[in-house]
Assembly symmetry: C2
Homo-oligomer: 393 residues x 2
Amino acid sequence: MKKNLVFAQSGGPTSVINATCYGIITEAKKHGLKVFASKYGIEGILKDNLIDATEISDRDLNILRYSPSAAFGSCRYKLKDGDFEKICEIFEKYRIGYFLYIGGNDSMDTAHRLSEYVINTGRDIKVIGLPKTIDNDLTNTYCCPGYGSAAKFVATSVREMALDADVYDKEAVTIVEVMGRDSGFLTAASALARDEVVDAPHLIYLPEVPFEEDVFLSDVERVFRKKGKVFITTSEGIKDKSGNYPYLRDGKCDAFGNMQMGGVSRYLEHLVRENITKRVKVIEFSIIQRSAAHIASLVDNQVATMVGKVGVEKILNGTSDVMISIEKTDTGFEAGTVPLAKVANYTKSIPIEWIDQQNRWVTQDAIEYMLPLIQGQVDIPYENGLPKYIRFI
Amino acid sequence: MKKNLVFAQSGGPTSVINATCYGIITEAKKHGLKVFASKYGIEGILKDNLIDATEISDRDLNILRYSPSAAFGSCRYKLKDGDFEKICEIFEKYRIGYFLYIGGNDSMDTAHRLSEYVINTGRDIKVIGLPKTIDNDLTNTYCCPGYGSAAKFVATSVREMALDADVYDKEAVTIVEVMGRDSGFLTAASALARDEVVDAPHLIYLPEVPFEEDVFLSDVERVFRKKGKVFITTSEGIKDKSGNYPYLRDGKCDAFGNMQMGGVSRYLEHLVRENITKRVKVIEFSIIQRSAAHIASLVDNQVATMVGKVGVEKILNGTSDVMISIEKTDTGFEAGTVPLAKVANYTKSIPIEWIDQQNRWVTQDAIEYMLPLIQGQVDIPYENGLPKYIRFI
């Protein structure tokens, strides 16, 4: 009896997870495979909450391809030991022989553990992980789907806001906070905003470089004296030499409300306001940066689609316990595989030699790494003047 | 001797001011007119800081048309009595016979006063105001250039973020803060995000309706009980019955940092966190909403261009002391004129009958008013995967 496939998505949404789902569904349909989508990630399997994705119309599939967020829902649930058997029971109920798990490094660990469990219990279920994260921090892959689109939004918006910030003949400091707790790839993408018209950002703060208050203030002071305007981008995850978030130190930030991630820009604002100028403005991209599908990168969308398609091809060929990786070729991108054990729980940071610590900037190598990932505009369907999106939850 | 034209821009930037400048320059060139642009608004005239805009190449003009912010700079300077004579002296130096002033209601007042001054001092200088504001609050015009593009960004981003906010099977309250101190048009545009897929926003708070804490909390509670998820959009300018900003009251918000505009979403977050759920997220659009030219409305860009073009036509015909207004026709938009005195210092709010106070929503009339303004996508030039922009400051 023919086996079925199920996919699930885990962790934070991106603008192109749904392109991966589109790739999975369309490729699986070619092979006459029945595809189930698990609602709200792996929790949907545990709760027996699956839907038949093969029934989605071609029209809706085309909308799905360009929709942000996770159209079947996601979760941040870490599997417990007892969950694996429960999952296998549901797999049995739906005659699942193939499981594709879209996520970041935690999810790859989950997929790896599940893969080991099915082997140890003598089941013939193939498991493949599909990469996804705006942080771009998975190892053994050139890049991660989701990053290119978030990077394109960050670079575009920084360029636009830099023009706005310069509009008055007055001093101004602008601080933009970008997602990325441990990896600065997304913040680094702000460097792409600079061209012969826009010289912002002037200073980029990455979690890969220990943050020091006095160095920060002297950086800002230097640019401020020279230009009268300073445009700063910072990762939400900058840490001091001890690896602590500087804005959580000694109750220094009582004035900034709740002590959760996202406080860094208010902390830097406070430093600038107290020491340099009161004319300081803060922008937090928050969830806009991972959901702005209207400015998604075409390349990112295509790579995300490819990852889903190749995932189906490989799993049908009997490949298991791997993540689909992305390789850069002379003409574009190709999919490969990497053992899940080599990806699970590891985190990739920006190579330190790509960071120009002196100038709070990134090197040409970093620019050349990022540029191919933001190329091209998606041709999303519009209705009544707005992008038309879809979801199935 | 042929007279020259000068234009200046005032107040906050938008995504389509530069389209108006494009309209002015291209139309003026057709008439063989020399066009000066004043740098940093009217201050550029006072400081003798003009540039010859007729020398801008066709390539750069096409980039200018789609660039956000104010490519020649802006100011927030209120003219003093002594400034008028100084302006006239500079006009004489550059043989200016025509002055176009792009701005909001303050700027229209300035233009009107200047117009009276030149008449009173026996000079033959024509003055026309060109509307511009994302707030859409100028009277005697169907709409204001800049609004449609900001509205399109707000609606698009709210739709995208609403998909993101729903992705987990967990309770969540999302609060989005939109610009607009006295007029709720831009916040109301968030209503356009709702379609048969996205039901957000659930609650819209406008400055036109007095804000009451207890009513707000019972609104949120009601939606929260029903859906488990609440998506709120609020104007930065909501006020209580006495016309005061609720978050500035009685030092209640000491915990929220500086007491400047932009504090409302943190205040609402605090209310929800203390009374309903800790799972609350805040997004402030800040300057992104007025500079996101990559998602500008084509209609808005065309109307802004028309306003510049017609401004030149009218002023060359001897028309003065008027603002170019916009009229809706069956097929699109046309330009008209309205005396500056009828626009200066007046502010338009959302008609109260367009507000559904019961449901914190807007009526179908409001939707039908806004929809035509966000139609169409601009075909902006891209380079290296990013929108290519220009400025001349």
